[in-house]
Subunit: 339 residues, 2 copies
Amino acid sequence: MPEKCVDLIFADPPYNLQLGGELTRPDQSRVDGVDADWDRFASFDDYDLFTHDWLAACRRVLKDTGTLWVIGSYHNIFRVGTVLQDQGFWILNDITWRKTNPMPNFRGTRFANAHETLIWASKSQDQKTYTFNYEAMKALNDGVQMRSDWVLPICTGAERLKDGHGEKAHPTQKPEALLRRVLMSSTNPGDVVLDPFFGTGTTGAAAKQLGRRFIGIEREETYVRLAEARLAKVIPFDPAAREVTRSKRQEPRIPFGWLIERGLLEPGTMLFDPKRRWAAKVRVDGTLVCDGTTGSIHRTAAQIQGLDACNGWTFWHFDVEGRLIPIDVLRQQLRAELN
Amino acid sequence: MPEKCVDLIFADPPYNLQLGGELTRPDQSRVDGVDADWDRFASFDDYDLFTHDWLAACRRVLKDTGTLWVIGSYHNIFRVGTVLQDQGFWILNDITWRKTNPMPNFRGTRFANAHETLIWASKSQDQKTYTFNYEAMKALNDGVQMRSDWVLPICTGAERLKDGHGEKAHPTQKPEALLRRVLMSSTNPGDVVLDPFFGTGTTGAAAKQLGRRFIGIEREETYVRLAEARLAKVIPFDPAAREVTRSKRQEPRIPFGWLIERGLLEPGTMLFDPKRRWAAKVRVDGTLVCDGTTGSIHRTAAQIQGLDACNGWTFWHFDVEGRLIPIDVLRQQLRAELN
DNA sequence: CGGCCAGTTGAATCCCGCC
DNA sequence: CGGCGGGATTCAACTGGCC
């Protein structure tokens, strides 16, 4: 695979570090845990080397502007996080996936292990131009910014893939809703997503639904076949519906002066702060005259508040029949016209 | 300190935030961050050595039947967890402290960092006779097994210690409720609790309340004096009294976007007002496209009705075989699932 | 005394492009 | 690569004053 060709990596690395004997429920029935051969490591050192290897390979193919997600539990996530940091990845968030329906602790010896941890990281501390669809995440959360704790059920029911015998096909199949949230937060339509531990292809399913391209790597042929069959049946969402709200930062910039140029604001119009304590006159070049000084909408607003900076778009208002309207609505109007 | 004399250790080790510039809120007020000198480390290696040293010292004084708690955030917790495992500690749980009132992400660049992580560990894999008051935790949780995610507010108000000038005395004072839950879960009355980073003595306060003995180690004289004054005022709980059961939390908020995420509503679905005069298309981030504009269910409904606000849950309906069903029924359904 | 409103604050790895 | 400046950005809980 060529260098720096991937926009996002999602990885659910295997581990088997702490499984002692067999786990039984109080009624002595056996719990079908995770004990596939591919999941076994002899020591922490072995696991660290494995982690170092696959993360280095991911680093090589990830674009500088790309980000990496890893999911794990307390068995392995601390080691993964340490190696990540050692390789220069810069952690942006750790996310707690709070499971609504986890397996209880049958023995009553510990707290019910009811969450898993995701780490979201960029390639380096300096790289600040990663994709984060802040507004989409905020919209998804009813207008309140999304937090680092996500409440989602584990994968059960029809979504959970079965093998030929009606048993679950994969021990740790992730819910598609989790992957959709990951992809929606940190990719754009058309981006290339890589999952180096593809399993039964949940990452691919979410990517196909959302109109992202994807690459999956999987060693077990059984899983590959299951994933292929699964992905063939996935129906992408309506292309119009999968568009998300873009952050203002990524929208084309609308300079204040354009409002005057385009006639949305007359030169000479008086602007006011929300409480009508201050007034400013709009000049033809988009500067304001306020209290004897001139400057941009931002500078004048900042000067009044006696601070370093200020968002003039929300500070300054114009008068319509006695009511004050923020000038930002004019920007929205112009932005709509320019689309 | 003699070997193996301590029943429980609770540690909140310092770490270096590597702060860049000054952080300001959107209203340009300054955030009073953590930048104490004692909190700085030059490199990951330095931090790992520091962690290795204090954990080894803890290991020496901890009884074989004792357990250790460490609290941290993504900046340091992965390194702490790795060193713990390397020294032979056996992780029993990782606990997510979900803060009800965290500081938001002011710049919209990441998810709000709304939780911290605690690791609970015994001295070795073989040691199975540690203290875990399963029934007490279950009782504290309304008769349901306590999970690995704890919802508690951060320390504010009267509990938050102030210095002489009315400023917060310690940058990271933990809530006593958190420490009480820790001590209640994994110690018995009379046990000896050690806190090697005592700060203003929250661990001591909780221990005194619950009738546990404690040892605190603190380098900063200011904190030592504050802790002494604080602890003198702490009144132990009535030995016969039991922790009161917390009232049930208010109904969890269900963001509209979750319906799409969880598959209760397909992206691209058309919604209608009760009289089918208007139609809107559901997008993947939970916004609606209606008559050329986009917005939340509430905003679109309000725009149509020409009002300041509107309850979109009752305004918008989806079509099932020609009949219109309000989307609110889906919210009720999801709320039931999330309980 | 209570309700309402405005103001304050908390472990935070918190912008980006142009010159 | 550093400096400069435009411009984007916040949630829940508590406090205190006023009516």
